[in-house]
């Protein structure tokens, strides 16, 4: 099996959208070679993202060569370098560090290779099409929900790590919200490791033992959120502590919908839909049909209540219950409908 | 020397073990070919042969330690394939191998090492029982007439000196009353007194009907002990001789040429200038200070029991230790080496007593083992000159007759004696001012011993000094011009060999000790 078959998994149970027009140039000939340079493909979010991208690429007659740096930024730089050297029709860069990738992207642009970035902050985006799921808006959405639930001045905890671009972006919003609503941050811990979910349990466990009166915890990365939830359950505080996360996956839905789960809200895009959206952005641009040079995929705040009301147990059902996730009206064309939607 | 009749006096005894057409090869090396031998109850068979003749190899096959032999082995008339040591032991074949280190498990206590076989046995007690183990250990030692206190039995076996480790392994081999006991150079790490006691034990075991195979390079022991002698040469049985032994014939069979057993040293040299001196040196805290002069032009033999302080003297000169009190000097200058490198630079070389631990570099070729201390000499601007290295190694290999497939052969593949020759040869090739050899004859055959002896004589003749440390009176008499007896860190006797008789030396060597310690004599 390869990545291709897993793409079927992500998009499977929804009927494949059918194109109502033939593929335009350059997609009507031999497959178009595109390099997808990823910072990481491991973990549920990135896995689904990759699957969505692969499925959409197939529909658009794009041959994707995916490199996965497994969170090793040096390797991502090498991958991008090698991608440029292989002279593809276009390059997609998925996440990464600004200072690492900016010079290489500039090089690619200079070599006249179209570049699309996803969730990558650039200092010089000339000639680059940028897409993002907007970490800031995601964090804002779920934090609004938090403030609504527990009110100003509540005792809150924060579980995250520094040194990772999306987490740092979410941290900025957190700091603003804390200041604006005078939240009382009683603890702040967390780390990202090779086994993030497991490794955060003891940290949150210790923090909860010390601060059992905390009302809400913001854990802005679903792997961390999962660990946080386990720690809350372990301390029997699920009726007193609410957990707010970011991202969604089958595994996350299972945790949110479990009996008495403290995870009450998450803010998310459908990673598969976003992955597909990025490919569509690229395809439209290559076909000369893209108007903007930047594209934002909006996030949706999903509450536990919503999932319960709609009896949602997996991402496929969630797409049905919350059609906004499908992004099937964002960057589409008659020859290029959204595959996962 | 001619093949003896297969039916000696006690001819009605069927052989305990017999070998028919046994061959062993290591890779492309045919080490034993077509060996046929019989071993009878109540008989001690001495296995003789030059270094590398194949003695240890034969023993490994016979004790199940090397199952890759061809030919057949019969035990009590039944044809068996000896695949594992357990199997051999179950059939009553028990062996003490040449490498003592192969018999000791560091980290386990002395008592546990004495009862190591029990760990392997399926049926017996699963749970450890400390008291039972001590009792078993004591009774194992009792067969050798040894009584070690519990404190010793409980300590880590790694801390036993090599001679005690050898005794431990022997005691273990005698547990479970074997039918055939194989001893591969068991006395090479023992002192004369310990060896004597071992012989007593062996004689009484023989009387009880045990068959014993005894490997040694010490002809005195064989003369004293063996009922017959089997000589191996180049992997074949050269001859089998019954008592009385015709030594010159045996030596001829062994070496392939004539040699004398009694070695006439001719004149005893008198040294001239003091090359090195110890003044007022205390070897152990509390022992009396000693003065000793090591002179050029003579070979000095230092005789002492284990623990007498011989190795201490060697270590002082070798730069491994500094004296507790007193001073060393070399020539006219005072000498205080801080590390072995200083000693080597000053022309002092030390052949250490434990070649496995202190001498050889396992996995390295003979050539590189020989040249390792002389890397600076054999290199220009740090780059090693291979040809220079090779010629140095060739000289050593040829002068000492090291049996190996070539200078590139791995040292591990050499027989024990040849490994020892390699280490001795390495150090003597340094053209030293002072050569100190700590127990240099462990496991080397008579020809090599002579060779080492004459090398020592010749470096002495060239104006250097040589000191041999040993606990074997015969060895000392064979090589030394001057003899010093060391007892408990002090000098008991210091005289030229031709002015001494053996009795005086042995008296000085053992006498005071026997009176100071209450040792139980075996039998």
């Amino acid at each position: 099996q390869s990545g291709t078959s897993s793409s079927t998994a992500a998009g499977a149970s929804t009927p494949a959208a059918t194109a109502s027009a033939p593929l335009p140039s350059p997609f009507n000939g031999a497959p178009v070679k595109v390099a997808l340079v990823r910072q990481s493909g491991a973990g549920d979010f990135f896995e689904a993202w990759g699957a969505g991208a692969t499925a959409q690429a197939k529909a658009a007659n794009i041959e994707l060569t995916v490199t996965d740096a497994r969170n090793d930024n040096a390797k991502q730089a090498s991958d991008l370098e090698q991608a440029i050297a292989s002279k593809p029709a276009a390059i997609i860069v998925d996440h990464g560090q600004t200072d690492t990738l900016q010079p290489l992207i500039t090089e690619a642009v200079a070599a006249k290779i179209p570049v699309v970035t996803y969730d990558l902050a650039l200092t010089d985006a000339t000639g680059v099409i940028t897409t993002s799921q907007s970490d800031a808006s995601m964090a804002q959405g779920v934090l609004d929900q938090l403030v609504k639930d527990v009110g100003d001045g509540a005792k809150v905890g924060y579980v995250s790590a520094t040194g990772f671009a999306p987490l740092d972006a979410r941290a900025k919003v957190w700091d603003q919200v804390v200041a604006a609503h005078k939240l009382d941050v009683v603890f702040s811990t967390g780390k990202v490791t090779e086994s993030t979910a497991t490794d955060n349990i003891p940290l949150v466990d210790a923090a909860l033992k010390q601060n059992p009166d905390v009302q809400a915890i913001f854990a802005p990365y679903d792997e961390i959120t999962k660990g946080t939830v386990q720690a809350v359950i372990q301390n029997n505080l699920q009726s007193k502590v609410k957990v707010y996360g970011i991202d969604i996956s089958n595994a996350d839905i299972q945790v949110i919908t479990a009996d008495g789960s403290p995870w009450v809200a998450t803010s998310a895009t459908d990673p598969a839909a976003v992955g597909a959206g990025v490919i569509r952005t690229l395809a439209l641009s290559l076909a000369g049909q893209l108007k903007d040079t930047s594209e934002q995929f909006p996030a949706v705040t999903i509450t536990q209540q919503f999932l319960a009301d709609n009896a949602v147990t997996n991402v496929t059902q969630l797409r049905v219950a919350e059609p906004k996730l499908k992004l099937d009206t964002t960057v589409v064309a008659d020859w290029l409908p959204a595959v996962s939607g | 020397m001619t093949s003896a009749p297969l039916n000696p006096n006690e001819g009605h005894d069927d052989p305990v073990v017999s070998l028919v057409g046994v061959s062993v090869s290591y890779g492309s090396n045919l080490v034993l070919s077509d060996i046929s031998l019989e071993f009878r109850p109540g008989e001690i068979t001495a296995l003789l042969g030059a270094n590398g003749a194949g003695k240890s190899t034969l023993i490994k096959a016979l004790s199940g330690a090397n199952s890759r032999y061809s030919g057949s082995v019969r035990v009590a008339g039944e044809s068996v394939h000896l695949a594992t040591p357990v199997q051999a032991k179950a059939l009553g074949i028990s062996a003490v191998h040449q490498k003592v280190a192969d018999g000791i498990v560091p980290g386990l206590s002395v008592a546990e090492n004495l009862t190591l076989d029990d760990l392997a046995q399926g049926s017996k007690h699963i749970l450890r029982n400390h008291r039972r183990q001590l009792a078993d250990a004591r009774s194992a030692l009792a067969t050798l007439g040894l009584e070690w206190p519990d404190r010793v039995l409980n300590q880590d076996a790694a801390r036993l000196p090599i001679s005690d480790a050898q005794l431990l392994v022997l005691a273990r081999a005698l547990r479970g009353t074997p039918r055939l006991l194989i001893l591969d150079e068991p006395t090479s790490a023992l002192t004369a007194a310990e060896a004597e006691r071992l012989f007593g034990v062996l004689r009484s075991l023989r009387a009880s009907g045990l068959s014993i195979i005894y490997v040694s390079h010490r002809f005195g022991e064989i003369e004293a002990l063996a009922d017959r002698v089997v000589v191996l040469r180049d992997g074949t049985v050269q001859s089998t001789t019954e008592r009385p032994f015709g030594w010159s014939g045996i030596l001829h069979d062994m070496l392939g040429r004539s040699a004398d057993l009694e070695h006439d040293r001719g004149i005893t040299h008198r040294g001239t200038d003091a090359v090195a001196t110890l003044s007022e040196v205390t070897l152990f805290s509390g022992s009396a200070p000693i003065d000793l002069e090591i002179r050029s032009g003579e070979v000095l033999g230092v005789l002492g029991l284990i623990g007498a302080g011989k190795s201490e003297i060697a270590e002082l000169f070798g730069g491994l230790n500094s004296p507790l009190a007193g001073t060393l000097s070399l020539g006219d200058a005072s000498y205080s080496p801080r590390r072995p490198g200083d000693a080597i630079a000053a022309g002092v070389v030390l052949v250490p007593e434990d070649r496995q631990r202190q001498g050889i570099l396992p996995g390295w070729s003979v050539l590189r083992n020989i040249t390792v201390p002389f890397l600076a000499e054999s290199s220009v601007a740090g780059i090693i000159r291979k040809r220079f290295e090779a010629s140095r190694a060739d000289v050593v290999i040829n002068t000492l007759g090291i049996v190996a497939s070539g200078p590139g052969a791995l040292i591990d593949d050499l027989s024990g004696g040849n490994q020892q020759k390699t280490v001795v040869g390495r150090w003597l090739s340094a053209k030293p001012r002072l050569a100190i050899l700590d127990e240099p004859f462990r496991g080397v055959d008579i020809a090599a011993r002579r060779e080492i002896g004459s090398r020592l004589a010749s470096i002495a003749a060239e104006g250097a000094a040589a000191m041999v440390l040993s606990s074997d009176v015969d060895e000392i008499f064979e090589v030394a011009d001057r003899i010093v007896v060391l007892v408990s860190g002090s000098i008991e006797l210091d005289a030229y060999a031709d002015e001494l008789d053996r009795a005086t030396v042995i008296e000085a060597f053992l006498g005071s000790h026997q009176s100071s310690t209450s040792r139980k004599d075996p039998e």
Binding site: A12, T198, P202, K209 | D102, E147, R159, L160
Partner: protein, 350 residues
């Protein structure tokens, strides 16, 4: 005399006795000191809940560490424990969620897989004569890759959409989750497992002849072989035991996360090796041992919890781990006159 008494034994001086005492109890002292410090400065640290919480959280690491310790008794090491634990997590999830089996079946399947991984290691080391470090490193890569291939790189959770488009019907059953959430009296199940396994291994190694034989194989396999100990069997046993323990650790992780987290187990290796190595050096024992390993694990748990309660960021834990390890090692090796005798891990084929 000949050696009627082998070594001259000197009376040890007061200084040496003190040094020996420090070596034996120094590490325990450090642990107790840290516990006391945290207990005084952090009220929530000194609760029974927290005690069990800490032990529960470290249990998988400790059990995997005990596995490594077992491999170390035969002179080896096992770098595949983290991978094996992660494999166990995915396989347990797959069995329950995708194959829709109950927890008991999952446990059985996982334990069998653990034994098989151990057997693979043993095969590579004993039969194929590949040195332990290399063999288990290879197994690590193979197992991690295999796991991801089996699960298509995805975490397995109930209701997930399968490759065939259907929804996975199974879920983590209550009996399986009991492994993490259950308790007997006030004591959580993982803590009980941790304790029972420690005691069993201690008993095996120190009180039975098999334990001694394992050590004999580890310190001088040639002597052991010549004494008739079935060296290869003991090696195989040790690696299979290690595989089994790693998969037990994996079961606990799976029950804790409640889903087939693909990243689980990845961070286990270094900590497991660290506690096993610390185990060798603490208590002045100088060879792999169960209580020392357990103590090493407890110290890590104490540090992680205490530092978090003090509000220090996670990286102070690493630093603290390093410093405390260092102090422990100085006690055990630098101030000690005793020699430890175990060689763990070599690139020499046996």
């Amino acid at each position: 005399m000949t050696s009627a008494t082998p070594t001259r034994v000197r009376k040890s001086s007061a200084g040496e006795q003190f040094a020996a005492f420090v070596v034996k109890w120094g590490f325990v002292g450090v642990t107790i000191g840290l516990v006391a410090f945290f207990a005084i400065s952090e009220p929530s640290f000194r609760t029974v809940d927290n005690l069990f919480g800490m032990l529960k959280f470290i249990a998988p690491t400790a059990i995997a560490g005990l596995g490594v310790m077992l491999a170390m008794t035969v002179g080896g090491i096992d770098l595949s424990v983290g991978a094996s634990a992660g494999f166990a997590v995915s396989i347990a999830a797959w069995t329950m969620v995708v194959a829709n089996q109950v927890g008991g079946v999952a446990v059985t399947v996982v334990l069998v897989c653990g034994l098989l991984i151990g057997a693979l290691n043993a095969f590579l080391i004993v039969v194929a004569r590949i040195p332990d470090l290399l063999a288990t490193l290879t197994t690590m890569f193979v197992i991690v890759g295999l796991k991801l291939i089996i699960v298509d790189g995805k975490s397995i959770s109930s209701q997930m959409t399968l490759a065939n488009g259907q929804t996975a019907q199974g879920k983590f059953t209550a009996d399986f989750l009991w492994l993490d959430r259950g308790s007997i009296g006030p004591v959580p199940v993982p803590v009980i497992l941790f304790f029972v396994i420690t005691v069993l291994l201690w008993f095996l190694l120190e009180r039975t002849r098999w334990g001694r034989a394992l050590f004999a194989v580890g310190t001088n396999s040639e002597a052991a072989r010549l004494a008739g100990i079935r060296v290869q069997w003991y090696r195989t046993f040790a690696y299979m035991g290690c595989g089994l323990l790693a998969s037990v650790a994996g079961l606990l992780l799976a029950a804790r996360i409640g889903q087939g987290d693909v990243t689980a187990g990845n961070s286990l290796l270094l900590d497991a090796v660290a506690v096993a190595l610390v185990g060798v050096s603490v208590l002045g024992i100088g060879r792999p041992n169960a209580w020392g390993t357990a103590l090493g694990a407890v110290l890590i748990a104490v540090m992680v919890t205490g530092f978090t309660m003090l509000g220090l960021p996670y990286y102070f834990q690493d630093f603290g781990k390093g410093v405390v390890l260092l102090i422990a090692l100085l006690f055990s090796f630098t101030f000690s006159r005793r020699r430890t005798v175990v060689t763990a891990g070599s690139t020499t084929s046996n």
